[in-house]
Assembly symmetry: C2
Homo-oligomer: 389 residues x 2
């Protein structure tokens, strides 16, 4: 991918010696698009970021783990601005072209001293850095780095999309939370990029559930520096790029669910035959957030009663006598009637797999939606009950 540099180091923000400070730098100012958390409680970097997003241009992104810079008041905002200024000076670019992002402990002041020491080192060695270094530096209690790289060809011209994400619970034990950075050397207007990114997020990061909680720091940032020969103009170009970006974000969101706290299974709930798009969404979301469905899946129990009851309370229109329910390809409820022990034994085999679909057909409309989610184990409770210190 042309014109992007990545690096990550340990700057002493985390208690241990893990990497905790990462940078993305584009040789040319890039078109920028971003999607932020809908949570009404937001961290300082998002207050700054929402403001700078208006320009639609970005050249450098500084990300730290170990401290969320959330609930840090006016000082937190000053620290966010200060850290971006240090980056701007070092690269000799306007500070408006710098975005900052934080993830980690809530409520503690940002250790700005570590930034003053760390950023110059980070930038001095940037040419020795890699996407892997950056991906590592943004992790909190994730168990794996999350990187997707896709080569695309547009009208004979090659361009690349690289996506890096962190996150494995909607909120970790006072960690906050899901971040994703998408870089491409495609040439595209930031206004176009924003609407395409929003669509892609709705089909990926907005369709996953680990524990139903959403955080104060969630950010998806996309930079397109236009340094490849490929550029986007008309509708057809947009549709093609949308497809490629969707693929990258969906793969990243899948990695997040797979790395879900204590997760042992990756499940896709597909709700069909809903009366409205909203009904399909509500039913799929409620099922994917149901503790009783999630714990049953952990127990490899084809407990269809819980899936149907969750749909019933979702607010979606549901007619009992019309419901079909499948675990994988096993029909377990047929027009509202249980298919018997035999079907459950077959379904139980499906649930022993690590990845499978659950399909709920409401059979009263033509609308469909889905959610990706994971099961719910004792390990989740252990992780989240542990005292923070």
């Amino acid at each position: 991918m042309k014109g992007f540099k990545f690096h990550g180091i340990n700057a002493g923000i985390k208690p241990d010696s893990q990497k905790d400070l990462g940078i993305i730098f584009s040789e040319k100012p890039a078109s920028m698009a971003a999607v932020f958390t809908k949570n009404k409680v937001i961290a300082a970097p998002l207050i700054l970021g929402k403001d700078r997003l208006k320009n639609g241009v970005c050249q450098a992104v500084l990300v730290n783990s170990g401290n969320a810079n959330c609930f840090t008041g006016e000082q937190g905002l000053q620290d966010a601005i200060e850290s971006s200024n240090i980056v701007a000076k070092a690269f000799e670019i306007p500070e408006e072209l710098v975005m900052v992002s934080s993830t980690g402990v809530i409520g503690l002041p940002l250790p700005i001293g570590n930034f003053e020491k760390g950023i110059p080192l980070l930038i001095k060695d940037i040419d020795s850095g890699s996407v892997d270094d950056f991906a590592e530096a943004i992790l909190t209690t994730d168990t794996t780095k999350k990187i997707i790289r896709k080569e695309c060809i547009h009208k004979g011209k090659v361009y690349t999309i690289v996506g890096i994400a962190k996150g494995s619970g909607m909120i970790k034990p006072d960690m906050a939370t899901m971040l994703a950075f998408i870089c491409t050397d495609l040439n595209i207007l930031y206004s176009m990029l924003q609407s395409i990114l929003q669509k892609s997020c709705n089909r990926s990061f907005n369709r996953i559930s680990v524990d139903g909680d959403t955080s104060t720091n969630d950010t998806v940032l996309c930079l397109a520096n236009g340094m490849s020969q490929a550029y986007i103009e008309g509708e057809d170009d947009i549709i093609e790029f949308q497809k490629n970006l969707d693929e990258v974000l969906f793969s990243l969101s899948k990695k997040i669910v797979k790395d879900g706290e204590g997760a042992t299974k990756l499940v896709k709930i597909i709700v069909k035959g809903a009366k409205s798009p909203r009904d399909a969404f509500m039913a799929a979301q409620t099922i994917s957030n149901s503790n009783l469905v999630k714990t049953a899946l952990f127990g490899e129990d084809p407990n269809w009663g819980r899936v149907v009851a969750a749909a019933g309370r979702s607010g979606a229109e549901v007619v009992m006598e019309k419901i079909d329910l499948l675990f994988g390809d096993v029909l377990i409820v047929d027009k509202g009637e249980w298919c018997g022990k035999g079907a459950e034994i077959k379904a139980n085999k499906i649930l022993k797999e690590q990845e499978f679909n659950i399909i709920l057909d409401l059979n009263i409309g033509k609308f469909e939606d889905y959610f990706l989610f994971c099961d719910f184990s004792q390990e989740y409770v252990r992780i989240n009950a542990d005292y923070r210190s």
Copy 2:
């Protein structure tokens, strides 16, 4: 309490020899009020019950545990009617005066043979029966019987309210779910009784959360047979009775939360200073349903970031800089600023107690609401992951 009889026996509906069939009988037809689950997927007894509620009169209530008679199709409804007919014949009363209620496994046909054998025995020995026998017969995997008895004096006349409930998860491992039966010898019109019961439910059973799931069988049934000298006429009488009924239902709902699956703590979240009643409700409900809040409480971790983040995503209007948060009497967030480690250490002491309040003051309005809920332990996951067979 005048004119009510209770009994409960084992009729072989449950696999073990526990009591599983209970009866309530009133010597005179009683005014009836009832509140049913809002879930769109409902069990056969509720289909029958909603129809018979229209009469506003009831003399006998048959309740079984071990089988929910849910997802049992047309046959399930026939079985519900058949079992009510057996009761009607035995008592020589019209079948319209009989209500039936079921809780237990979903999807299996009701073993009507056990009802044909069991009901005559149950009714023959009814004079040897007790409230305790009935309370025991309606339990599924509850760990304790749930009975509240209240003596009231109205204009010098004594009347009694007896409430019996079951339920310890919104849905148990394919068990379904919360039932409550309220009997009183007060004299009151069924139309009055219905609106009073509805209000009481909103202040009690609709303000508790064990795991955020709601079931297909939830029912609260209230009978008033008027056999005491106390009767209700005007507004003042209603307000006084409302207070007494509220007390009984609130105590019962508290017992349900205390017996929550794997629960170790009983917590009341109070949201104050909300911009609208709906905002107060949404914030309190979202906090009480948050797995991250519940697991933190299990870990005795005053993780205020999770409480505030849950409020932030609840849909309620939240202004970060105005929020106050208290664990018990310990202020931990003051106008959006963390009160420091000292406050957290104090709060940690509060969280070591078995019962405490969390108070979130949004400080942007005058509306208030609350939820009763429990913490979230590995035990919950163990209970709900166990394979049903």
